[in-house]
Subunit: 221 residues, 2 copies
């Protein structure tokens, strides 16, 4: 069908790494509120990345993540101690991968594999190492040097420069539909991991492929 | 306290104009689903403005609003006819103002008053006229000529240029905390109308004033 891919670039959180353990910790700290809190937390975390990018007030993802947490706790009337902030920050460093991830990555090892994430280097390096994936990726790329977040086109361009592969030979994989749309708009061939059977985002840049999880990926590239 | 203000610039939707009638129409079309639908619709409408601004895929607010509606209906499993799209688009053109708005604007008439909104000119002109506010504002400014949305600083700069007033002599009023933060970050003196007792957004640019509604504004300027 399309040009043969030379490289695959993955989003990190929600795509390779399951944030479920963070939700569980929220539920331990605030029984019965874990799901509501983590949803609002995630919403604000992302909103802040977009708003700060537009405002030109970049702050790294680790701090934006804590800002989102503080907002969400305040909105839900939950008290938040500095010890809880530290524990939740740490939980982000030792996330597990989704069950199918390692086997799928193994089948894709004939391609150059990389991560391109909003995460700060101080978050990405530990989570990759803790998951035993250090040797798997030829590059773990953070948006951080650009002081802006996805879906700014310059962010996707980072992967082109770092991998030395033309953009039409790069496949981009994300569980965030807007991220897959941003990458498609930039010029990657895109794979949206639609884990929750959500509708496609109306951004006039629909992903090329919609799959349920990474296990479907090796047959498509 | 601060420099005397020469002009006041208002956000439109949710600040001057109450979108309640749109919610009511949603509830008429999809009984019992009006609130859930309109919340998700609003969330997606805003997300799309930020994402499109970053992706450099601007599309006017009228169309982004319909895109958000289509997504929200799909996510909630509600069928949406083209007639319903038209009716909801039209409802945006004849919103009523919040009860305190006209009296408050009357007390502020010694200042230059303007609107600065994400809305397309094709949406703003009718809603201002239908609410009987045409003579009240010296300028009704849309982001549209810039092909980007709030909180991009260039958008707030539009008001400075159009009004010919330095930014530190302009007060900016919005019910959207992130919008008030964006305006504060740009350099306006800002008033956040916190109608729903929400926490302040953690964007390191907190609004100068937090008030419950516009009736509190005349005493502050």
């Amino acid at each position: 069908m399309s040009v043969k891919l030379k490289a695959l670039v993955f989003d990190a959180y929600g795509t390779l790494f399951d944030v479920h353990s963070v939700v569980r910790l929220c539920d331990e700290f605030w029984p019965g509120q874990g799901t509501a809190l983590s949803q609002l937390w995630r919403t604000k975390q992302l909103e802040y990345t977009w708003q700060r990018s537009l405002m030109r007030r970049y702050k790294d993802f680790s701090d934006v993540t804590v800002d989102g947490l503080r907002y969400a706790c305040a909105a839900l009337g939950l008290s938040l101690s500095e010890l809880q902030v530290t524990r939740l920050r740490e939980a982000y460093l030792s996330l597990t991968t989704f069950p199918e991830v390692k086997e799928a990555l193994g089948k894709l090892s004939h391609l150059q594999l990389a991560i391109l994430s909003n995460g700060a280097p101080s978050m990405l390096d530990p989570v990759v190492a803790n998951a035993g994936l250090r040797g798997v990726f030829s590059a773990v790329i953070s948006v951080d040097p650009l002081n802006t977040y996805k879906p700014t086109p310059d962010v996707y361009q980072l992967a082109v420069k770092r991998l030395g592969v033309p953009k039409n030979e790069i496949g981009f994989v994300s569980s965030n539909c807007w991220d897959a749309c941003g990458a498609k708009s930039f010029g990657f061939r895109t794979f949206w991991i639609n884990r929750s059977d959500a509708p496609v985002d109306r951004l006039d840049a629909a992903p090329d492929h919609v799959i349920r999880n990474l296990a479907e990926l090796p047959d498509l590239v």
